[in-house]
Amino acid sequence: MTTTTASLATGRRVRRRTVLAGSLALTLAGCGFVNTDGGDASGGDGDTTTLTAYVNTELNTGLTPLIEKYERATGVTIDVSSAETNDLNQQLRVQLTSGTAADLIRVSPGYSSPVAVGVLASDGDLADLSDEPWTERLSDDTRPLAGVDGKTMAFPVSRNAIVMAYNKEVFADAQVEPPTTWSELLQVCERLRGAGVTPIAAPFQDGIYLQFWMYALGATLVYAEEPDLDDRMRAGEVDFVDHPGWNEVFAKWLELRDAGFFSEGALGIPFDQGMQSVAKGEAAMLLLVSAGLPQLFSYAEQGAEAFGVFALPATDDPGDTHVPLAPDFLAVNAASDNVEAAKDFIAFLARPENVAAYANAMGVLPGLDVDVELESAVLDPILPLIEQGRTTPYANYLWPNGDTQQRLLQSGQLLFDNKITTEQLLTEMDQEYDKGTP
């Protein structure tokens, strides 16, 4: 009897320990402390390489056919995870810190976020891609955003432009043409208002869409003349508040507001309602990033045919107009075991036919300076500017931290609402700028 009790007790202890051990293993596996896939970065069988990639949803869509093509050609497997850009930015930072980041990662340009190329490259998180042949085909608007200290640390998969989209029918009804100078823009707005249409949709409820105006006007009024302005600002030689170009940017924006050319109640209008108002013909124009054009087209029955685009003029000389461009970057995790394999995949993406395939699939501008015949004619009006090199990076990507932009987004709304002055806003931006890169 005693023996039986003892063995039962022992059996219970063993079961308890087994359950405890199992629970612990499950918990640790759930917490990520235990590798449960039983494989390594090379796929575990020693014959095939498995690359991991963590990108935003746009890149995932555009890269999928190219990845399939690459996998067929090389036998390499690419395991892609994707998330919305904001979610990705939050998670990527944690992943890099914990050593669980993918081999290929989507990173923001310049220093615009905690996971931007400049910030991560300075921390040694990105592999150096400077020796890759495709770096010779980086455009001037992209090169300053693609690395630090003259090194290239990221590959531009595509580029987006800030453009003014307009409703062709509304323009035709008001008998106006796309303006090429600032004075023409004011005249067109006046004619449109006379025709009973809101000249410019201004969905500024989210400051993100307000900032496009500063970057589009700043391309012509600031960076066209002074492409190295931010080098001087970082050196403390110049600041926002005393810079004539930046003051003129805000003066012109407020000129449109004071003339009543923007939507009424702009700070309460969400962006998609702004797009819908242009699609319905209630408003005539909308400033947006070219990546947003497919969404705009989806709101009109005729689709892309209903709209045209032009570069926002800021002076009375059409030859002055520049257009801001921003790349979507893919970089290689420096801590990856597959750096060379990842570089090989990027070299594949950099082939002209693949650059063209991505641009056409997504309706965006090619990431590299290659001869690409775009299937869509939507962006034709701004292609001559790109060919002539009349492009600049988005201003915020050149700033040393994301807080300067954040201040523009929020205090910019206050300026629009007449709660503060341009001088106050620019002083606040200077304060954030001077904090430098975190």
Binding site: R93, G268, D417
Partner: protein, 311 residues
Amino acid sequence: MTVRLDRPAERVEAQELGRTLADRRGGTWYLFVVPALAFYALVVLYPTVAGAWYAFTDWTGRNVAPNFVGLANFAELFSSPPARTALWNTLVIAAATTVIQTVVGLALALALHSALVTRNLLRTVFFAPALLPPVVIGFLWRYTLTPAGPLNDALRELGLGGLAQNWLGDGDIALASVIGVIIWQHTGLTMVIYLAGLEGVPAEVLEAAAIDGASWWQRLRYVTIPLLIPATTVAMSLTLISGLKLFDQVFVMTGGGPGYATETLSVIMYKEAFVSGRYGYAAAIALVLTMIVFAFAFLQLRALRRFEVEA
């Protein structure tokens, strides 16, 4: 030698029994306690203490060994105008929702604690918004409150176009709009708490008061409300705490704007951590928010407990 003889027999018996049980277990009780305590320490205590520690550093989420910066993060929090605005907005939202939600919730509960035929339907209707996820509520009202949205359209249809506003886009009224949405969503929950409390009010006490000639108002003022203080304690504590921590609806409806008009501590904490990568500063904001929640909840609980009576 002194012998104490004043130990109650039950206590002696319990102590003896406890000793016997402990002896029978062979002193292995700690095997059951230690894993749970270790798990609690790992997933609750350590992150809490570590989070508090980061509030005194310049941690960016990337630097493995952040620098100790003393009270610099707290100094910035209390000196930065946007952060001060967020702190003020947080207190205004918490105070307004607590007071208005309690009063309206009580009124609804009193109205629906009756023989009204449609009372169950109305209870469901008023409680339904509390069941929806805050993000859904945020998106719903974000579009309802646009200048060309359904609310302004309805006002114009009713000939009240003069009352139409840029509800979320006008910095002077945006905070009030947000507060209105929070109250709309959660008043049903307060109503349900009060309905449960009203079930506990003895009918005979109310009848006795009525026989003694007390009016409806006097019965409410001197009988019902004092007996509802426990329900009030629960309702006000929950509302105050959720008001202080408010994030989802603000983030979805306004993102803290226009400008900084609807910024709350939770929203700037999110932005500082995940947008700017200033985790140390965000931890300081979180620590201050935690202290505020503790302090207000404790004070409110103590104050309300004083008024509690037994039926």
